[in-house]
């Protein structure tokens, strides 16, 4: 083997001199625009240590030999199954608008059309920021980007259509909520209790990833450390009472969309993950009691197909090693990056210019996903950059693109097809090493919480976003139709674009007034003595860091204490997060 490598090294030098360099000179270039890899680039590569088999540590080659969807893919094709509509028993389409009543009626309409997935709730910005609909700061935002939830009454209303075959222990619930995640989880638990359904039977996923909100998405309320305490309480509560419910959905993708480089995305989200694991340990749990309930939300996101594939491989390996070696997990499931989609291009890669070009872009993301252990999903629909509301055509083409990749191209028939490639193994090692170096830097700062508090992570990705913008403006990074091939010789291509009138605009207009009216009535008719007493207890317990606040939050929710009333107590006790200074 050693001799063979020596021979290859010599042959490579010879090739560079006699073939490559000559060609570089012939075209008057400073260096070759392409690269070629040989066994010398993965000299110390050990297959079992670095790759292993699909479903085996360190999971580089994938979480499983094949996933659920792949097992029945051909059957699904013959049945004409449309996953975006949400079949019974599965996750429904992400959505939400207006008041709880508006969204409930919308869901009923969807069910009548046989779109029967579990509730996958988008909350409006007021709810996400822990504000009630009557808050001055929330003016104009009620029911806009999601449904407004002020109290348990609202939450219960949304679930009215979910009975019988769609009972809450039969369909999963997804909540895209972070800062007030504890309150929404408490509402879910309260709903189950009222319906006489054991908490152990509940399944679903709250996003509950507050740390990335500070870095990327912006719907934080309290300072990082206090926010993590609330995470700890939800973690312990879910692990002990709701073993089928995922605890969180850790996002790398939001961080990437906000501008992070590939290495920053990987390092920051892994560091956040470590902080969450530590929070579970601090709550007195053993690693395998809660880590199997962690999930992730689509790491990565760029057009660089090779890098995105390597990135997924590196991410799985880093997480598996971290959970096993640092946290001493024994359960395999603790070590997995369980995420609904793997590689993708990221919405940031879509362009408004010549919008249909986003379809081939999304296909490239789908190929990367299919080649790195995920569904080869073409995401997002091509009209993503035109604003909220994908057209029926864009969704149809997105679905068909995915189907073509699965059924016609057979992209998902091979596990980790790049395993053993000199280039891909080298690139995976390189991305892993860069991320580990950055993780080490964060560790030396005192971990993710400190790196967020100091503004390090926020400023780092803001700078990366700006660097990317400069590279686009200087034509160092080329984007078709944006900074090249944009002359008058090119033509725009348009198609009919029918956007389904998903959410009634008239209801959207009046949602704020109706929501406020309901809230005013609730506050007038509920038992306000109990409310005050519960809020006082909550305040006392919030001041004692050793107490798990979930039982108190559940009591509050049950007695119609509003979302903001609970959050305001925490604002008083914990304080509010301060924005990071850019300059």
């Amino acid at each position: 083997m050693k001799n063979q490598l020596e021979d290859i090294k010599k042959a490579k030098e010879n090739w560079q001199e006699t073939i490559l360099n000559k060609r570089v000179q012939r075209f008057n270039l400073k260096k070759s625009p392409t690269q070629f890899y040989t066994p010398t680039d993965i000299e110390s590569h050990s297959f079992l240590e670095k790759v292993g088999f699909p479903g085996e540590y360190p999971f580089t080659a994938g979480n499983n030999p094949f996933d659920f969807w792949r097992a029945y893919a051909e059957d699904a094709a013959k049945m004409g199954y449309r996953p975006d509509w949400g079949g019974a028993g599965g996750v429904g389409k992400y959505g939400g608008f207006g008041t709880a009543e508006d969204y409930r009626d919308y869901l009923k309409r969807m069910h009548a059309m046989n779109r029967k997935g579990g509730p996958n709730i988008a909350f409006d910005l007021a709810t996400q920021c822990g504000l009630d609909s009557d808050s001055e700061m929330a003016e104009g935002e009620i029911g806009r980007v999601g449904v407004a939830i002020d109290s348990f009454q609202d939450f219960q209303t949304i679930y009215e259509p979910y009975t019988g075959d769609l009972e809450i222990d039969k369909v999963p619930s997804n909540f895209t909520i972070n800062a007030p995640a504890a309150i929404i989880i408490a509402m879910y638990a309260t709903l189950a209790e009222k319906r006489g359904i054991g908490l152990t039977r509940l399944k679903g996923t709250p996003q509950n990833d507050i740390l990335k909100e500070f870095i990327a998405r912006g719907t934080y309320i309290y300072p990082p450390k206090e926010s993590l305490r609330l995470f700890r309480d939800t973690c312990a509560f879910c692990a002990k009472n709701m073993p089928k419910l995922n605890i969180n959905s850790i996002g790398g993708y939001h961080i990437r969309e906000a501008g992070a480089t590939r290495e920053q995305d990987l390092a920051f989200s892994m560091s956040n993950g470590i902080a969450y694991l530590q929070a579970g340990i601090d709550a007195g749990l053993a690693i395998d009691e809660f880590a199997p309930q962690f999930t992730f939300n689509a790491f990565g996101g760029s057009m660089q197909i090779y890098h995105e594939i390597a990135f997924q491989r590196a991410a799985r390996r880093i997480w598996a090693r971290t959970v096993k070696e640092r946290f001493c997990a024994k359960n395999k499931r603790s070590m997995l990056i369980r995420q609904p989609i793997t590689a993708h291009i990221g919405c940031i890669s879509t362009t408004k210019q010549r919008t249909i070009n986003n379809l081939p872009r999304a296909v490239i993301g789908g190929i990367a996903a299919g080649m790195s252990g995920g569904i080869p999903g073409a995401f997002p629909p091509f009209d993503e950059p035109l604003g909220l509301g994908h057209s029926l055509e864009a969704v149809q083409l997105q679905l068909d693109a995915t189907r073509i990749m699965i059924y016609e191209a057979g992209i998902a028939d091979i596990n980790d097809p790049w395993a053993g490639s000199y280039f891909m193994e080298n690139l995976t090692d390189e991305i892993e090493a860069a991320a580990l170096k950055e993780m080490d830097k964060i560790e030396k700062m005192g971990g993710a919480i400190h790196a967020i508090e100091s503004g390090y992570m926020t400023r780092a990705i803001a700078k990366s976003a700006y660097e990317r913008q400069k590279r686009i403006e200087n034509q160092e990074d080329l984007v078709v139709g944006v900074n090249c091939f944009d002359s008058e010789n090119e033509i725009d291509v348009t198609i009919n674009r029918i956007v389904e009138d998903t959410y009634d605009p008239k209801l959207m207009e009046t949602a704020e007034a109706r929501q406020k009216e309901k809230l005013e009535k609730l506050k007038r008719t509920r038992d306000n003595t109990t409310v005050l007493s519960l809020l006082n207890t909550l305040r006392d317990h919030a001041s004692d860091e050793s107490i798990n606040l979930m039982p108190d939050i559940c009591e509050c929710v049950k007695n119609d204490v509003t979302l903001q009333e609970i959050c305001d107590v925490f604002r008083d006790v914990f304080g509010e997060a301060q924005p990071v200074k850019l300059f």
Binding site: L125, G140, G259, N483, L582
Partner: protein
């Protein structure tokens, strides 16, 4: 205008929308283009933005809005500026703005609307020409 004085720009995020990438990139870009840039950070009400603009004596306010609430938020800011007799401050809007709304914003008194894919250099040039 005093030639020594740098053009002052307030970049602001009104409402509860937390998508900051555009605002941050424009803030850095305009600063590198020689402007004095102040960034408000997230969750500012139109009246807070108006006060900050007057207090900081800025020439330009750049609003970044991706939540779809651009019409009402911009309208409120412009009303506030008028009531404070500060409507000589140029208002720009950036974000996900449908073409038909772009027209409405301009009728409201917005000097320029910049959507995704706009080079920061173009925004810088636009401001220099306006002042």
């Amino acid at each position: 205008m005093n030639q020594e004085r740098k053009i002052r720009v307030l970049i602001a995020k009104p409402g509860l929308d937390g998508h900051e990438r555009g605002a941050r990139v424009v803030a850095y870009g305009l600063r590198d283009a020689g402007f004095e840039v102040i960034y408000t950070g997230l969750r500012q009400s139109p009246s807070q933005i108006c006060s900050a603009a007057i207090q900081e004596d800025v020439d330009v306010i750049g609003l970044s809005i991706l939540s779809g609430a651009h019409l009402s938020l911009t309208n409120k800011l412009i009303d506030c500026l008028k009531s404070q007799e500060a409507d000589d401050i140029i208002v720009l809007v950036g974000g996900i703005i449908p073409d038909e709304d772009s027209k409405k914003l301009k009728e409201m008194g917005v000097a320029g609307v910049f959507t995704a894919g706009t080079p920061v250099s173009e925004i810088a040039q636009f401001i220099k020409e306006k002042i």
